[in-house]
Amino acid sequence: MIAAVQTPPVDCAAATARPATDPVAQALWHPLCAMETLHQDGALSTRLMDEPLRVSIAGGRAVVQAPQRDGATLPAVVRFGYVWTRPDGVDDPHSGLFQIPEYDEPDRRNVHAATVGVRTSAPRAVENFLDMGHFPFVHTGVLGAEPHTEVREYEVALNEAGTEVLATRCRFHQPQAAAGAAQGMLVEYVYRVPHPYCSVLYKSCPSDTSRLDVIALFLQPVGQERVRAHALVSVIDDDSSDLAIRMFQQSIFAQDKPILENQRPVRLPLDPRAETPIRADRSAIVYRRWLSALGLTYGCLPAPA
């Protein structure tokens, strides 16, 4: 059976809100905003899975309300400096969010680097984050440069509990792996996908090679084809200013934006015959199979039965 792919209209009007029907996605925690932004603005309005939400601070705690559910309150937690909520309203203390132990280390600098709106689906954005083959073409001179385009063989697997995809030994030649480095070198990354719409990257810390620097991408699915991408940078770094860290991440995101916004279909196709994988895409293959196994449909085009 051929999966029909709709071409989107050229000039999108605002996405018509359709009630979210994916119970798997509704049972997940999703990020809404950085606490720092909430403190700065006092309160803010946003959208999650086609539904408007209002985030405010009351008595020092973050409060999430759903205007379309008669102002009902949704569960709210603050993790890694962001407010998270669960659209199905279930506040189950045992189904918590994934951990990033490095975040709590006392000498860490945790920087909210960006919240960027991108017209793509959350799974597409996760795959882009996992992908290294695009470094020389999209992040030219920063994360990669021709002729060093090879993606070397790496290891990837779903963990035994079926809760995380882990890719290790991901190596790529980078022109300036660290500020002040005179020449390029092979850097090694580890990627984790501990949540269908979140990914965490680990790389060796330049100032202390026994430790890892962390860059985390938390995607807020505003709609099936629209996200707010939140970026957390958690590093051991006494030299760079917050502004420099922010500008670096925002520039990287802005370089990825026209690629993500020009991908068709916008939702991630889970049918193996939709696209052509190469060996460099093994983490994406594992990720897509995981989403299918979870039964996740929001932001995806499920494989035909």
Binding site: T37, Q40, R119, R228, L243, I252, A254, Q255, P258
Partner: protein, 242 residues
């Protein structure tokens, strides 16, 4: 520091540009700085999410709270049009970009610089709404941006026929092309797509192939142009028959 504009001493010192790497209006100035090979100190403004441009220190520099702002000695200039004209007046001795002495062409350049402002207010605003969560009426802004792009596409189509392919008729691009390009190149981030505007798409390739062109995150440089003579600035020319 803005003070009065009378008797400003702009003579000495380095140029300092207050800018944000992802700013579309800042891009207009970055383009000219590169094309004219002008050295300027870049001061990054913490635009997002800190909104430094709305803070007291920046408002003292530009009460409108907008980027970019140029400082030169005691002179403080806001508004990308003003900055472009100022830089060209200082550094464009041949009058390539700012055709002083030619009343018609300078007036036309200003006409299209104003048009670039219209693009900034519509397509640029749509981009800020989509990417940076500014408030605004997206459908109306997009509709108005498309009206502008239709006008631009038609103008460029006839400009190609006339043999030059620039906004202001002549053998060379002017400030108008840079100012309009910066908005157009980023418009798809705001959902204002270029598909219906083939002449604009070809013009974007031409601008991107100008010596001294720089891109910015979100703008891809076009691939190399053809090697042969008359095609050099990308104006359509006879198809090779062999």
């Amino acid at each position: 520091m803005a003070g009065t504009d009378a008797g400003v001493d702009a003579g000495g010192g380095a140029l300092r540009l207050h800018d944000y790497a992802l700013s579309g209006t800042g891009y207009k100035v970055r383009l000219l700085l590169s094309m004219l090979d002008i050295a300027a100190e870049r001061i990054e403004v913490d635009f997002y999410p800190a909104a430094e441009h709305r803070g007291d220190a920046f408002l003292a520099l530009n009460p409108l709270g907008q980027l970019p702002v140029l400082q030169h000695g005691d002179l403080v200039l806001r508004d990308s049009k003003a900055i472009l004209i100022y830089l060209a007046s200082l550094h464009d001795a041949r009058g390539d970009w700012w055709p002083v002495g030619d009343a018609v062409r300078t007036a036309q350049t200003v006409q299209w610089l104003a048009f670039a402002d219209e693009l900034t207010a519509t397509a640029g605003r749509a981009r800020l709404i989509e990417g940076f969560f500014y408030p605004g009426d997206l459908p109306t802004l997009r509709r108005r941006a498309h009206e502008c792009l239709r006008i631009l596409d038609r103008h460029l189509w006839f400009a190609e026929r006339a043999g030059h392919g620039w906004l202001v008729a002549g053998s060379r691009p002017t400030l108008a092309d840079l100012a309009c390009f910066a908005c157009v190149a980023l418009s798809e981030e705001g959902g204002v797509m270029h598909e219906d505007y083939p002449a604009i798409r070809r013009w974007c390739d031409r601008v991107g192939r100008l010596p001294g062109f720089v891109s910015m995150p979100g703008v891809f440089p076009p691939g190399p142009g053809p090697d042969r003579g008359p095609d050099r600035d990308g104006v359509p020319s006879p198809v090779p028959t062999s």
